[in-house]
């Protein structure tokens, strides 16, 4: 199978630039990168047809091998339409994202950050309760409760702080 070298180089450039752009944090660049990637793939499908020949319209007495393979063209057509729809949707999405946050970069997931920073200590599972629970040692219990309260307070403060940071950003 022989291929068109120019098209092949164009395809390679599109792929490399596309991958570079997709790795960016800016959404507009990601969309541009995706467009390049889909178009590079369209070129790749065209390559799959081999060397171009006659237009694939049936005429009497033509050698079947001299036609261009029509199937990849049909595939490309479908792929282009899908790419168009998806790109349009992506543009709508990043416009909405920009309208909401006035920023073009993809933001971190708040819940992710919270899980990452949570302590390994869980009150109801890890708190060291007084061993002998039948004896109501008030002092101990009170101390424990105080400790718990403080922990909650710290936790609350931490969350407030985080919230503030988030708001500032």
């Amino acid at each position: 199978m022989s291929v068109n070298l120019t098209l092949l180089i164009v395809m390679g450039v599109l792929y490399s630039v596309g991958v570079y752009l997709v790795l960016e944090r800016s959404l507009t660049r990601v969309v541009l990168g995706l467009m390049l990637l889909t178009n590079a793939t369209n070129l790749l499908i065209l390559h799959a047809a081999g060397i171009p020949g006659l237009a694939p319209l049936y005429t009497e007495g033509t050698d079947p091998r001299s036609y261009t393979d029509p199937l990849p063209q049909a595939l490309v057509l479908t792929a282009i339409v899908i790419g168009l729809a998806v790109t349009a949707f992506m543009l709508g999405l990043i416009y909405r994202s920009w309208a909401l946050s006035r920023r073009d970069v993809i933001t971190d997931d708040a819940e992710d950050r919270r899980v990452a920073t949570q302590s390994a200590f869980v009150d109801e599972e890890d708190a060291d309760l007084p061993q002998d629970t039948s004896e109501f040692d008030d002092e101990q219990l009170e101390a424990h409760e105080r400790e718990n309260e403080q922990r909650h307070l710290r936790d609350q403060q931490y969350r407030d702080q985080e919230q503030k940071q988030e708001d500032r950003r």
Partner: protein, 555 residues
């Protein structure tokens, strides 16, 4: 034999599409729109059940669309695997659709601009059915794109900050996996000159081993992203939980399973060799263990469930990696089980969010007293997913382990012990939710949600488990917290999940039939190309004497 029922299979795609078109036209007549949507799913479910019944122990059947012969035209294939997947997926989508409709009715959002939900949802179902029936790679790609584009819309519906943020990640990752899939298709076509899967089954084997391996891995990466297999799974727990409850439920149930289905087809039909099974074995172990460790760290119930979803994909990959008929039979059963159980858990999470105001388990507590029905509906699928003996999760896992042990290497034993560990950790994760959300009192919640603490107006539990309370001070709107139309579909799915145990015998029988056809791709090839299509010649010859009459006599 006047009519071959399997030829009705395209209806599973056409009916939802027609329903989508109709319900789009009827966007301003809400009641009618809902009826059309639910009706079209009921019809396609009936057709699919008929198809499943006829293909129960029959050889695979192919349907030529547009009257074109096999390697040229588009074919749809009906075998036990696709029939089972179709029926299970439509049952689940129907339940979720009713649930979503119930939510819409209860919240009175019928006047809102969300009337686009029903058409989009039906398109999603049509795309999934198309993927399950597709007989050539490009049609599979188109099926993927149909349901993915629908899922982009469903995922970002409402357009809140959170959903847009998660939606962008989801859309970008999906597009990249689609591009990879398309690249793989182009390369497959360049190497073999066909995209018909049966034809590929014959032709791929003639390629040099290196080329085969490259095509194989490209397809696996593309499907692995869709199926959320370990190193490619990070997008899932990030994006799924932000969508609305019914959307998350249907995504969790169906979309990853389409990826698993495609991996099954790749491993059985396109590349039946065993070169890559060792790799899949390790991937499955990592998927299970890393997924469940992620789940243990979560506080949010929906995120926790998303991580268990990723983790349990590992079980299916394990069955595929075993690669024997017993392994595939267990995978077929396990996929069916997992679709139903995971969806019902997500639906329950949606109900928890409604009743308790949040899915963050820090903000919840005392739900067992507030909503005993929810406690039951949560506990049964949770035990089921964790693999407690009488339930289907246990049966599926036993099937997988048995298949693994029958064909044992030391790797298999490592993966099996990892799987047992994962199953225990799943139980721990789910029971922690149980303890925090249901068992402890409301006062113990760290930051109880206002909705949780709000006094209920009726103050007692009627038989119907339906409560209403006034959210606004002025009492303008009475919101039903647990509308019947949302509780019932969930309950039905839970019951079906239990029925998977009761009817495990026949289900394993059909799974065995499916596996038999999977490990002998010859039957599939014969169904598509006809008895004489088998010789691996160039495309032109194979089609010329393809025998279409031989196909019609399937019992």
């Amino acid at each position: 034999m006047s009519i071959d029922v399997a030829q009705l299979a395209p209806l599973a795609i056409i009916v939802p599409f027609v329903g989508a078109a109709l319900s789009l036209v009827l966007f301003h007549r809400n009641r009618l729109q809902r009826l059309v949507a639910i009706g079209s799913l009921v019809v396609s479910l009936a057709v699919e059940m008929l198809v499943l019944a006829t293909s129960w122990d029959a050889p695979p059947t192919s349907v030529n669309l547009g009257g074109w012969e096999a390697p040229f035209g588009i074919v749809l294939i009906v075998d036990q695997l696709s029939a089972v997947m179709l029926v299970v997926s439509t049952i689940v989508s129907l339940a979720v659709l009713i649930y979503a409709t119930g939510q819409g009715v209860a919240d009175g959002d019928s006047a809102g601009p969300i009337s686009i939900f029903h058409p989009t949802y039906l398109i999603l179902v049509a795309g999934v059915s198309n993927a399950f029936l597709a007989g050539d790679l490009f049609n599979l790609y188109v099926g993927f794109e149909i349901f993915l584009v629908a899922s982009y819309v469903l995922m970002t519906m409402g357009g809140t900050t959170q959903r847009i943020r998660a939606g962008v990640t989801y859309v970008v990752v999906s597009i990249i996996s689609s591009v990879l899939f398309l690249i793989a298709i182009a390369m497959v076509y360049a190497a073999t000159g066909t995209v018909n899967m049966a034809d590929l089954c014959l032709k791929l084997a003639d390629l040099p081993v290196g080329t085969q391996m490259q095509l194989h891995l490209m397809l696996l990466v593309a499907f692995g992203i869709k199926a959320a297999v370990f190193p490619l799974s990070f997008w899932l727990p990030d994006s799924y939980p932000t969508a609305s409850a019914p959307v998350t439920a249907v995504f969790a149930g169906l979309l990853t399973k389409v990826g698993v289905y495609s991996i099954i087809r790749t491993e059985t039909l396109l590349f039946p060799g065993e070169q890559i099974n060792g790799l899949l074995m390790w991937v499955s172990l990592l998927t299970m263990v890393v997924g469940i460790l992620g789940a243990l760290a979560q506080i949010d119930v929906k995120r926790l469930l998303s991580f268990t979803l990723v983790s349990h994909i590992g079980y299916m990959v394990f069955g595929i990696a075993v690669g024997t008929a017993a392994g595939f039979a267990a995978v077929v059963y396990y996929v069916g089980h997992h679709i139903i159980i995971q969806t019902s858990l997500f639906l329950v999470a949606g109900l928890i969010e409604r009743r308790g105001g949040s899915t963050n388990s820090d903000r919840l507590g005392g739900m067992a007293r507030l909503a005993p029905v929810l406690a039951v509906l949560y506990m049964i699928p949770a035990l089921n997913l964790g693999g407690i003996p009488p339930f289907s999760g246990f049966l599926g896992k036993i099937g997988l382990f048995q298949a693994g042990v029958d064909n044992a290497t030391w790797q298999t034993y490592v993966v099996i012990s990892g799987a047992v560990l994962t199953s225990l950790l799943t139980l721990i994760a789910l029971m922690r939710v149980w303890n925090r959300v249901f068992l402890r009192t409301t006062d113990d919640a760290d930051f109880p949600d206002p909705v949780l603490l709000a006094p209920s107006r009726e103050g007692h539990w009627g038989a119907g488990a339906v409560q209403t309370l006034t959210r606004d001070e002025g009492g303008r709107q009475t919101v039903s917290l647990l509308p019947r139309l949302m509780v019932w579909p969930t309950a039905v799915l839970v019951v079906i999940g239990v029925a998977l145990t009761v009817f495990a015998g026949p289900l394993f029988a059909v799974a065995d039939n499916a596996a038999e056809n999977l490990v002998n791709p010859g039957a599939y090839v014969e169904a598509v190309l006809g008895p004489e299509g088998a010789p691996s010649g160039p495309v032109e010859q194979a089609a010329g004497d393809g025998d279409s009459d031989g196909r019609e006599v399937a019992p």
